[in-house]
């Protein structure tokens, strides 16, 4: 047990602690899965983390692991896991939180999910998200928003808000998310859990419904950094079905208990202070002091072009989205608008207008505009060059620092409805996470403390394929920060 109180509260266990107990036969896979399903039954009407549960299958799988416990059990056997509904799962409806895919029953399973299932996880269900992963609050779900387990009047962040809320609410021991501009890290920060975006290419995107293919990456949302390392170990690898995937140069290692002596950490000066809430900065600065006391060599770092990252992202990602989402045409799968159609164009238009929500339409139009004749050079071409400048900025910063550090999000969890009226204000929720996706780097958000009773995230960023260094430093930081709070929904179960 990591925290005071809650002895016997299975919802407080990390995945690694649960594996230990199961291995010593002090806990059964069925009891563990049962505890999470009971929590879902009790609280998910309020939280709405899940779009679909696979409870019966989960119980059967857990029972099967129990019968075959001991020698030869797969390494992650019996861990109750939530899967973001952007990852296709054979025979389990996968909607991307869109009317367009409301009844879509995939004929194959995403590689990332398949790898975890082969390693023994038990799938509890599919989690809510912003439609097609476009959003920062999970309010863009066609099936209603998810609520933050720390305060049900607030958003969990997004787009992987359902996965982050599930872990924070004790409704999953860990979860899979995806991150295109911050969609793992920002909800993890707002929900007080850990979220890791791996280096672009290190985890297969096969079966991840495409949003912006040159940014999208699958990764873990967990209670601890060591759990994130454990899940990542089973996620990485080249996949013949994703030609942009690569073999990770390192075997992913579980971080060890040690201090931060000699680790050079650069605070990105352009992104602290300006545009970040004072109370978030205060929690962040206290965490940095603790890291410094643990031996970290903290200095300032510069990313001179970082203010151009958000505008460049909102050209490139919608441009890629407008091409990727062209596949939803009412022909091969997904919604087709009912009634007789005068011609095929009318069928396309009615299907897409009924199937897509507001934000998805906005981004498709933005991307179409940026790619249209006369604007392509001014927008898409220029944004690809800005991307180069951001990549170069990071490379220069890593000459003087092993890792960079920032708050993960500029605010704590905001109220439902607070930012839905103004898309640009919502986009700025990702100001600290988007630069990382432009450069394809790995980054992790860990809880840094509470501000006004709500979690604040601290983001560490490393060079490409530096996951072992990043996870080790994050684990050490997590230890010295000593965040031991859980959401009220988990505390209630003590």
């Amino acid at each position: 047990m990591t925290a005071a109180g809650g002895k016997g509260n299975l919802l407080r266990l990390s995945a690694i602690e649960a594996l230990g107990l199961i291995g010593r036969q002090e806990l059964t896979a069925s009891a563990l899965t049962g505890a999470y399903l009971a929590q879902i039954n009790q609280h998910d009407n309020d939280v709405s983390a899940y779009l679909r549960l696979t409870a019966t299958e989960a119980q059967l799988e857990a029972a099967a692991f129990e019968a075959a416990a001991g020698e030869g059990a797969p390494p992650l056997a019996g861990l109750p896991t939530a899967i973001k509904d952007v990852l296709v799962t054979e025979g389990v409806i996968t909607t991307c939180a869109s009317r367009m895919l409301e009844n879509y029953n995939p004929i194959y399973t995403a590689t990332s999910v398949l790898k975890l299932r082969q390693a023994g996880i038990v799938m509890l269900g599919k989690t809510n998200m912003d439609e097609f992963a476009m959003g920062s609050s999970t309010e863009n779900s066609a099936f209603g928003p998810t609520r933050n387990p720390w305060d049900l009047g607030r958003v969990p962040g997004g787009s992987s808000g359902g996965s982050a809320a599930a872990v924070a609410a004790g409704e999953a021991i860990w979860a899979l998310g995806s991150d295109t501009g911050g969609s793992i890290r920002q909800p993890a920060a707002l929900c007080g859990v850990v979220g890791l975006k791996p280096t672009y290419g290190s985890v297969s995107r096969y079966g991840l419904v495409a949003f912006a293919s040159s940014f999208d990456q699958v990764g873990p949302i967990t209670k601890t950094v060591r759990d994130a390392a454990l899940m990542l170990k089973y996620l990485v690898g080249k996949d013949a079905n994703d030609s942009t995937s690569v073999e990770h140069p390192d075997e992913i290692a579980l971080p060890e208990d040690r201090d931060l002596a000699g680790v050079r950490i650069g605070i990105v000066r352009e992104l602290v202070g300006k545009g970040i809430d004072a109370e978030v900065m205060s929690v962040f600065n206290q965490a940095i002091k603790k890291m410094e006391a643990a031996g970290a060599l903290v200095s300032e770092a510069g990313l001179p072009h970082v203010e151009y990252a958000l505008p460049a992202y909102y050209i490139l990602a919608p441009a890629e989205a407008s091409a990727n989402l062209a596949r939803f045409d009412g022909v091969r799968y997904g919604l087709r608008a009912g009634g007789a159609h005068a011609d095929v164009t009318e069928m396309y238009e009615e299907t897409r207008s009924q199937g897509f929500g507001d934000e998805v339409k906005r981004r498709i139009m933005l991307g179409t505009y940026a790619l249209s004749s006369g604007y392509y050079e001014a927008y898409y071409g220029q944004a690809q060059k800005v991307r180069t400048l951001v990549v170069q900025d990071f490379a220069a910063a890593f000459a003087d620092a092993d890792l960079l550090v920032l708050p993960t999000a500029p605010t704590t969890a905001f109220k439902l409805g607070e930012k839905t009226g103004d898309p640009l204000t919502m986009y700025k929720s990702d100001i600290c996470t988007i630069p990382v996706n432009l450069a394809g780097l790995p980054a992790i958000s860990i809880p840094a403390g509470l501000a006004g009773g709500l979690p604040v995230g601290l983001q560490l960023i490393g060079p490409a394929f530096s996951e072992n260094l990043l996870l080790q430093a994050a684990h050490s930081a997590e230890s010295v920060i000593g965040f031991d709070k859980v959401s009220p929904l988990v505390k209630q179960a003590d």
């Binding site: 030609s243 151009y308 022909v331 091969r332 799968y333 339409k361 991307r387």
Partner: protein, 99 residues
């Protein structure tokens, strides 16, 4: 406004989206706000900067051409909204040729 109703209508047509007349005004306003923000990149001198399309060094990925089992027709059609005679049914695309 940076983007007019006509431009929104044109872009929606390219994207195969049908907008209600009330939506035109809202999207024109919102897209103008976003484009105004995006235009910030025009401040930069980028003439001598290379493009980045992918952040990880990738060479072309080739493999030998080989025959292998594919998805069955039945599975491929399983999610089709309208299926007939082993194919996806769509509204008529080509004009009937005059005899």
């Amino acid at each position: 406004m940076l983007i007019s109703h006509d431009e929104v209508r044109y872009v929606a047509k390219l994207a195969r989206l049908k907008l209600e007349s009330g939506e035109l005004d809202r999207y024109a306003g919102q897209l103008s706000g976003i484009i105004n923000h995006i235009n910030k990149i025009s401040e930069l001198e980028l003439k001598h900067v290379e493009l980045t399309s992918h952040v990880i060094e990738l060479a072309n990925v080739f493999r030998e051409d080989q025959a292998r089992q594919s998805v069955s027709r039945e599975l491929a059609l399983a999610n089709g909204p309208e299926v007939e005679a082993g194919a996806f049914r769509v509204p008529q695309i080509l004009e009937a040729e005059e005899q």
